[in-house]
């Protein structure tokens, strides 16, 4: 993007965050996957950007965009945090239209000067430049989870193609989605209890769709379907989905999940419904379910293979 880099080269130092991307769709598709609430919190570290969306303290969706995806990525401070209207951000990112013309790419340069300043977006397509300034807000406190591998109870990784239709056809008259993970039959089961009756979707552990199956104990948890359904938008983009049941441990620091590869991932954390007999107990003591959607980004770089999702 020679047009813009000359203008702002000298001014880069004043920005806490500068990121350039040749194809803005690599960013916008991932953000669309977590766009089920209007506002999102962005954390940027030298490893990349994490965008978090939360719903009712029951669901948290995180999109991790590695630094490797960007053509240029500079973070001056230790970490940069701000809250932004995700709807507006997505509208700006797709300002040149959401369906790309063949052969044209929209380039993006994102600059953030720091606390109190708006996020600046420079988008360029075919010589036309659009400048967007989006106001940022005080970052909200988001639930932070420490993902120590020792906390994992059960973990199952499935290929997304087997799940997409299943999730789109979930019986929405059911209030909950019950997820059963077990070392014995039925291994992995999604159940709904709607007006018509109950439906169970079983995935056997030796299925071709099953990439990894680690179950230590039988767990049956219920999750509110109305919170779950919108968050599965990411399923459309992803190639793999991980269901992981862990005990969350609270920490004060945000853990960095990002490593230097070019695969992005979207992670959605669900806190299950407490069983009725316990009353309105805070769900933090119960194991949370984490969906991780592995999204391939069309960058054309090598190394889009599987990666260990429990990277430090």
């Amino acid at each position: 993007m020679p047009l813009l880099t000359q203008q702002i080269q000298d001014e880069d130092d004043q920005y806490s965050l500068v990121a350039s991307l040749d194809n803005v769709r690599n960013l916008s598709t991932i953000l669309k996957a977590i766009h089920f609430r209007e506002h999102a919190t962005c954390f940027a570290t030298k490893n990349g950007i994490k965008v978090t969306v939360e719903n009712a303290k029951c669901v948290q969706a995180n999109a991790f965009i590695q630094a490797g995806i960007f053509q240029e990525f500079k973070v001056q401070e230790e970490s940069v945090t701000f809250r932004i209207n995700l709807t507006v951000l997505l509208d700006c990112l797709s300002i040149f239209g959401s369906s790309p013309m063949p052969g044209t790419l929209t380039a993006l340069r994102m600059c953030y000067q720091g606390y109190g300043y708006p996020l600046m977006l420079f988008l360029e397509e075919g010589g036309v430049v659009t400048v967007c300034k989006i106001n940022t807000q005080e970052p909200e406190e988001t639930l932070d989870f420490d993902f120590c591998s020792t906390n994992v109870i059960n973990k199952i990784i499935l290929q997304s193609e087997g799940l997409r239709e299943a999730f789109s056809e979930l019986d929405m008259t059911s209030e909950v989605l019950q997820i059963t993970m077990s070392p014995d039959k039925p291994y992995f089961r999604l159940s709904t209890f709607g007006n018509a009756g109950s439906s169970h979707l079983d995935y056997p552990k030796d299925s071709d769709l099953m990439e990894a199956f680690h179950c230590n104990q039988t767990q049956v948890n219920r999750y509110k379907i109305s919170l779950l359904k919108p968050s599965t938008k990411a399923l459309v983009l992803s190639c793999k989905m991980e269901f992981c049941s862990r005990h969350p441990v609270w920490t004060a620091m945000a853990q960095s999940w990002l490593t230097a590869t070019s695969t992005s991932q979207v992670q959605v954390i669900f806190l299950p419904q407490p069983p009725k007999h316990l009353g309105l107990q805070a769900p933090t003591t119960m194991p949370s379910l984490i969906f991780v959607f592995l999204v391939e980004s069309r960058v054309g770089q090598a190394g889009l293979g599987t990666r260990d999702l429990r990277a430090p």
Partner: protein, 391 residues
């Protein structure tokens, strides 16, 4: 009851359920010795649909566990349709479908075995019910035409999807005409677009009807069967009689047969459906000669009480078919429209002086169990004489 459907037949079953869903809200599932029957009727009892799948359609078919009676059940169409909602997915991923009805558990279990070992189990709740049986006899209808479903499918293409009723008739030169039917409205001349489609006799495999006969029926309900027949590449037969008598649409195959019985508009209500008679004021007496008040003509009020009686009566083991009165229009042979068949079929809808015609679909083909012997009651606006007594 236990049956297993495999391969492409799963999609056929799914399509049949989709067709039935266009008619009614409840599906009556009844395993019989000669196959599994899926039936439905619409809320105003003016349309009935039935698919019978022969045992050969299934890889495994067991109507009833030995020693047990044949069970039948009624489930919400929405629930059953949700199992087969996406036909594309059925085709792509489902390998086997197993339907079982267990008297002990009060659930109809539909299990879909999909690719990659994935298994979907639906436990649907159902209600016990009486056998749903409509009384009709295609053989008793004097007029019949049969064509590949594709021909009829192409013929209804020009009609707007919103069109409710269509008139089917035989015009001059033994041409089959489909014309859109619109109720007489005050501003009908301004709004209505009349569409007419003519098919030559050569498009039909069998055409056994006189010129001038015409019936008007609900197109939306007919489309349900038509789409199924087209996808299964079958021939569709239409058996019909005078206007007001139900029209029977059938498809037949070695593995399944389907019957859709739709009520038709009776002549006293409509003049524009007469495709062979252009003379404006004459049709009134002639058409009335065609209309046949039936021994079983029910005024609408009677329908509900009759239907309640049908559903609360305890059926005996042996009789699955409701006792019924034959509805053959014995006394009324079809009249030939001799005097007015010279003119072309491009008739203007005749204007009726006086009050606009009320439109009523009457359900005429359910037998009565309340009173097997009933004195014939005609509807109040009887414009022709009663036939002589019970049929």
């Amino acid at each position: 009851m236990k049956c297993l459907v495999t391969g492409g037949n799963v999609k056929v079953l799914g399509k049949a359920v989709h067709s039935l869903s266009r008619i009614g809200d409840e599906l009556y599932l009844e395993p019989l010795e000669d196959g599994l029957s899926l039936r439905t009727v619409n809320s105003s009892r003016s349309a009935y649909a039935c698919f019978l799948f022969a045992p050969l359609f299934f890889q495994q078919y067991q109507a009833a566990t030995p020693g047990q009676d044949l069970l039948r059940c009624k489930i919400l169409m929405k629930s059953f349709l949700s199992v087969f909602r996406s036909l594309a997915m059925l085709e792509k991923t489902v390998e086997k479908c197993c339907i079982s009805l267990n008297g002990r558990s009060s659930r109809l279990v539909v299990q879909l075995h999909c690719k990659f070992g994935v298994r979907k189990t639906h436990n649907l709740s159902f209600q016990d019910c009486e056998s749903l049986q409509a009384v009709f006899d295609p053989a008793s209808c004097p007029h019949m035409l049969r064509a590949p479903a594709r021909v009829l499918g192409e013929a209804v293409l020009p009609f707007s999807p919103a069109l409710a009723e269509v008139t089917l008739g035989i015009g001059r030169g033994r041409r089959v005409i489909l014309r859109s039917y619109h109720e007489e409205e005050a501003d009908s001349t301004a709004k209505a677009m009349v569409t007419e489609m003519c098919l030559g006799e050569e498009d039909f495999q069998q055409l056994q009807a006189q010129e001038g006969v015409a019936i008007t029926f609900c197109l939306k309900e007919f489309r349900g069967l038509l789409s199924f027949a087209e996808s299964a590449n079958l021939n569709l037969s239409i058996h019909f009689d005078a206007p007001g008598r139900p029209a029977i649409f059938t498809i037949k195959d070695s593995l399944l047969d389907g019957h859709f019985v739709l009520a038709t508009l009776s002549d006293t209500d409509s003049h524009s459906q007469d495709l062979g008679s252009p003379e404006r004021h004459q049709p009134v007496p002639q058409l009335q000669a065609h209309s046949t008040p039936h021994p079983d003509d029910f005024a609408n009020d009677d329908i509900d009480s009759y239907m309640i009686a049908m559903e609360t009566t305890i059926g005996n083991e042996g009789s699955r078919v409701l006792p019924s009165i034959s509805l053959s229009p014995g006394p009324q042979p079809p009249k030939s429209p001799g005097p007015h068949s010279e003119e072309e079929d491009e008739a203007e809808p005749s204007t009726v002086p006086g009050t606009p015609p009320p439109k009523k679909f009457r359900s005429l083909f359910f037998g009565s169990i309340l009173a097997p012997v009933r004195s014939p009651q005609g509807p109040s606006p009887v414009l022709a004489e009663d036939s002589e007594g019970e049929g």
